[in-house]
């Protein structure tokens, strides 16, 4: 079963990350690097991406003529998707365990951040008999 693990961060998260001491940034990045490496070596890895800073984020809608109408940046938005992992594992519990590991990434002073990671199942295609 596939699950997406979404790491959200508060609007200030991107900026405050940049104001940590150098050693804290290094430790945090090394931790994430380790998680990704271990995941890629395990059988359950599907994909993982980190998203660029939301400073340039736009919300897009089609106008009457179908042309894009862009809108943003949004001062009211409290949280942004910072990145995600997609894993293919035997059970939801396994996905939760991976999410918990990532959640405990260290912050300043080595204290675990325990950031919230949203876990959702990824729907599969229709079973063969329906095709």
């Amino acid at each position: 079963m596939k699950y997406i693990l979404m790491m959200n961060c508060p609007k200030t998260g991107y900026d405050s990350f940049g104001s940590w001491p150098k050693e804290a940034i290094r430790a945090h990045l090394a931790f994430m690097h380790g998680i990704n490496k271990a995941l890629k070596e395990s059988a359950g890895f599907v994909s993982a991406e980190g998203l660029a800073s939301p400073h340039e984020a736009k919300r897009v809608r089609a106008g009457k003529d179908g042309a894009p109408i862009t809108d943003g940046v949004f001062p009211e938005t409290k949280e942004y998707l910072a990145g995600y992992w997609i894993v293919d594992v035997e059970s939801a519990e396994r996905a939760y365990a991976i999410a918990a590991r990532a959640s405990a990434a260290p912050g300043p002073g080595g204290v675990p951040l325990n950031m919230p990671i949203e876990v959702r199942q990824v729907m599969s295609g229709p079973p063969e008999e329906f095709l």
């Binding site: 900026d15 991406e49 980190g50 660029a52």
Partner: protein, 415 residues
Amino acid sequence: MTAGAADSGFEHLVRELTPQVLGAVVRRFHDFASAEDAVQEALLAAALQWPREGIPENPRAWLIQVASRRMTDRVRSEAARRQRENAALHCGVLSPAPALRPETERDDTLILLFMCCHPALTPSSAIALTLRAVGGLTTAEIAHAFLVPEATMAQRISRAKQSIQASGVRFSLPSSRERVERLGAVLHVLYLIFNEGYTTSAGAELQRCELSREAIRLARALHGLLPDDPEVAGLLALMLLTDARRPARTGAEGELTSLAEQDRSLWDRREIDEGVALITAALAKGSVGPYQLQAAIGAVHDEAARAADTDWAQILALYDLLKRMSANPMVMLNHAVAAAMVHGPRAGIELLEAVDADGRLRGNHRLAAVRAHLLEMAGDGDAAMAQYQAAAAQASNIPERNYLLTRAARIRDSR
């Protein structure tokens, strides 16, 4: 591309032969798009059969034979479907592959490079097609290198072939009038392949070195075909002199190390020596171009035993020339860095105003990153930190973003 040592010899041979085989098949059937598919099928057949049964005595003829058979099968089934008889297409027995003179083989590889890097194609299409038709990579390998699904890459390649077909370009060398411009397009595509491998435009891995290696292989082949062209030699030298620094460029956790802080003992001496020899010989020919100048700059960096020994005055002189030759904002940016190293950071910062005014690098993280470095050199920590953070917010490459954040943190920590 990911072959183990055991079959790397086989792999190497197949990839060398790809453009020659494709050239021969296109000459016989006059249909580039189908011939390209047929050659891919022949390569796959070879990948299955040769390791098991041994490499045939004349591997080139074997591949041409198999690809040609695919072509006739295709033509036949097409004809059958249309219920239209054309005796000429129903050649029951395949005529043996014509014995080509070596010059023809050489020309074929060149013609293919010119075709795949046709100006009618977008850079991403030209890159994909070049890697497949000239480089002999499979669609899956190219898709993997660019981190896109295989179906996406297959589409990109097939559209590229349609564009080439539609452009009506003939399978022949460009006229001497067109040649300079078309060779420029080829060099640009090879340069982009190298760069894509050296600094990926997005994603977590800073270097996908197999693409760089492939670009070097293709540039080496092109240099073999046109040994007297100084810009071809310049591009190959530039790639080697840049690639030589690859082992020192990233740390244990994938983090980026700046040129000034790299452990130079890790640099690849063999690549440096080859690059320096190439660029020295090319410059002596007296027809200087942008790739030669960039290679010369790379050579000056590579020849400094320590960062402090870098001959910045010479680098600045080379950037002066380069800037006069191409009004590229990245060149202006690097020129500003060199000026700062020779005349002090304020001189560099002043030159950045022209880059701002140019506008093409607006929103590009490199402009803010260079400004940050120069402000840091000038001792203006607050402004430098702000610029590092602005650059980090604009970066689309994770290791580069992390590097910029770390530089900002380092200034903060030192207070």
